[in-house]
């Protein structure tokens, strides 16, 4: 519209020839080698918009409950990430720094946050209420035996320095609040809280011969009834394994069954109170003593929030983790959960507001002399946008030398409802591309 050079020849500044090869055959090689590695991905604007909205909703809930954001390094010392052997080294993407120290990309947040709490935040007021959003990285074994790295997004909380059933209740009610706030409850499917207790399960397993314990524990975690029924196990071990697999269902009936078994009565009392509070707050609970999370640092309740057959959040109590990172080996109880935004976004219906990609207005200087007026108009309109910033309140400036019909085609394609055509004297008229 207002005639100027494309500027492409200047776009890379001096020294561009060192990393830019204009030959077509080179560019095709470059493009294939610049794909993200397997398991990683680019998030395009529309996906980012949905994710940001979800994070904002969760952040509001976290803050309402008194939680503050913490950001820990993506890269940590490997020994920090392994959490005293609770996390398998082969699941961590590893690298070595210049001094030969083994580092890793975090496979989960809890270890890093507890490390920060036990060192940088030690001696401060308790309990600590912390929340996070970010990426985690895993080395996953594929079916054919090779490993592939994967990047996941996670949002979650850690409550450090508070033990007991009331702290458990705070975390689970916060989780319920999060799930309600993002709209899972209002979808055509509801959600269920699967709730286990590692300490109760382990107290039942303690009667199993030590040689059979690992096999029985694995069979319980994987719901492998066939193994427990047919493997050459001591009969007592088989019966205890099958008994634990049977301790699943409505909290009332499972708690009644547990009352007949050799388990610590105070744990049972706490669990009963917790289930009662959850029921009063409308949370559908399946009490499941076979729920053994894969992370070995859990010591108390463990849980999964599930909807439409998928895990949308998981967590548990870890009362022995803090001491691993505390210089004085001080013990502090801890509990937390992780929400899985990738799964939540897959289950939630697309939000028409978020899906609306268009901006409100496109400002077009009709002649070079109209550029200052166009800039001023765009600035004024942007200031007038008092609503929370979303793409729909945006004001764009036309930057390319395009004919009016091309500009209108662009506006239609980007769903921009208004175009302001600005004259040299600052006057403008608005059109609405069909």
């Amino acid at each position: 519209m207002y005639g100027r050079g494309s500027g492409a020849e200047h776009s890379r500044g001096s020294g561009a020839e060192h990393f830019w090869d204009p030959r077509p055959e080179a560019s095709s090689t470059v493009s294939s080698s610049l794909r993200p590695p397997s398991g990683a991905r680019d998030l395009l604007p529309r996906e980012v918009q949905r994710r940001e909205k979800l994070e904002a909703q969760l952040t509001r809930v976290f803050r309402r409950h008194g939680y503050q954001r913490i950001i820990t390094p993506t890269l940590e010392r490997l020994e920090t990430l392994l959490a005293g052997g609770s996390i398998r080294a082969e699941s961590v993407l590893q690298l070595r720094d210049g001094e030969g120290t083994m580092l890793g990309l975090r496979p989960e947040f809890t270890a890093s946050i507890v490390r920060a709490a036990a060192t940088r935040l030690a001696g401060g007021p308790l309990p600590l209420r912390l929340y996070y959003h970010g990426s985690v990285f895993r080395n996953s074994r594929r079916e054919e035996g090779s490993y592939s790295s994967q990047e996941f997004f996670q949002s979650g909380v850690e409550l450090i320095g508070a033990g007991g059933w009331l702290a458990d209740a705070e975390i689970l009610l916060l989780l319920a609040d999060c799930i309600r706030s993002v709209g899972i409850s209002s979808c055509e499917f509801s959600w269920t809280l699967l709730l286990g207790d590692v300490s109760l399960t382990e107290s039942l397993l303690s009667a199993v011969a030590p040689t059979a314990q690992a096999a029985v524990r694995r069979a319980i975690a994987q719901l492998d009834y066939v193994y427990l029924e047919s493997a050459p196990l001591p009969e007592a071990a088989r019966q205890i394994g099958l008994q634990i697999l049977g301790l699943r269902g409505q909290p009332g009936s499972v708690l009644s069954d547990l009352a007949q078994l050799p388990v610590p009565p105070e744990r049972l009392r706490d669990l009963r109170q917790l289930c009662q509070v959850l029921e009063e707050h409308g949370v559908r609970v399946v009490l499941d003593l076979s729920l053994l999370q894969t992370l070995a640092y859990y010591t108390g309740i463990v849980f999964q929030a599930v909807a439409s057959g998928e895990i949308i959040a998981l967590g548990g109590r870890y009362d022995r983790l803090y001491a691993l990172y505390s210089p004085q080996q001080v013990e502090q109880p801890g509990i937390g959960f992780t929400l899985l935004p990738d799964t939540l976004l897959r289950l939630l219906p697309p939000d028409p507001q978020t899906e609306e990609m268009g901006c409100k207005r496109l400002v077009v200087p009709l002649v070079p002399a109209g550029i200052p007026a166009a800039l001023a108009l765009a600035a004024r309109w942007r200031e007038e946008c008092t609503a929370p910033l979303t793409r729909t309140e945006a004001v764009e400036l036309e930057l390319l030398d395009r004919a009016p019909e091309e500009i209108e085609a662009y506006a239609r394609q980007c769903r921009i409802p208004e175009i302001a055509w600005v004259q040299a004297d600052g006057s403008y008229h608005i059109t609405h591309p069909g």
Partner: protein, 235 residues
């Protein structure tokens, strides 16, 4: 919630095409769930609902390729599946199983074995030289087995007629499913080592089972009484 009410959604069972299908259908018929339409030569449907119910609970079935049964169950598109243990061992070789193993249905008996040519100088898998070539459709199971033996071998993945590999000199041994051993003998092979025995298994999507176990438990009770019970009496 799958609580057996007439208006609750059906429980979906993934069934494997092929050798296990007739007995899988027979097993379910014994407990009052009818997918016999899949055996009709003119049938083209891959998804059908049983005209009969078990305790008021509706059931539907998906007819899929054998190796796809655990996939449909793992991803929750089917809450249950009936599939050979060999398929499960292959899919989850070296990893944690992502389906629940609920019941051994005691049909489809076979075993995963190492077979060598009759004129081979080696009489067991452990005697094979390092980097021997082993052909199989079940490379996951084979890898797991040879790793346990601490024997490095070159695994050749084939999709059919594995017995040909030693005949043509492409492989020194094979790992394959054996029922009677007749095919092996006809091709000059001899079964030397058994990796594991295989039968048909009832598997479940773990989360669906944890959340809605009641109707599935009822189904298992019926299968134990009417199917496994009849096998014991008959056997």
């Amino acid at each position: 919630m799958l609580d057996g009410r007439p208006d609750s959604p059906p429980i979906t069972i993934a069934l494997a095409k092929g050798a296990l299908l007739p007995e899988a259908i027979q097993c379910l018929q014994q407990v009052g769930i009818d997918f016999s339409r899949f055996l009709d030569p003119g049938n083209r449907l891959l998804r059908i609902e049983s005209p009969t119910r078990l305790n008021g609970q509706r059931y539907e079935a998906l007819l899929v390729r054998t190796h796809d049964v655990p996939v449909y169950v793992e991803y929750g598109q089917a809450q249950l599946g009936i599939v050979g243990y060999d398929v499960l061992r292959e899919r989850y070789a070296g990893t944690e199983a992502r389906v629940a193993h609920l019941l051994d249905l005691q049909f489809g008996h076979c075993r995963m074995s190492v077979a060598l040519p009759q004129d081979s100088p080696y009489h067991s898998a452990a005697q094979l030289p390092a980097h021997a070539r082993v052909a199989s459709k079940f490379v996951g199971c084979a890898r797991e087995y040879f790793d346990r033996l601490d024997l490095p071998v070159e695994l050749i993945s084939l999709y059919g007629s594995v017995e040909l590999a030693p005949l043509t000199g492409m492989a020194d041994a094979i790992v394959d499913l054996v029922a009677t051993g007749r095919t092996l003998r006809e091709n000059g092979l001899i079964e030397r080592d058994c990796l594991f025995e295989s039968t048909a298994r009832l598997i479940a999507h773990p989360i669906s089972y944890r959340v809605n176990q009641q109707p599935i438990r009822e189904l298992i009770t019926q299968i134990r009484e009417r199917w496994l019970g009849s096998l014991l009496v008959g056997g």
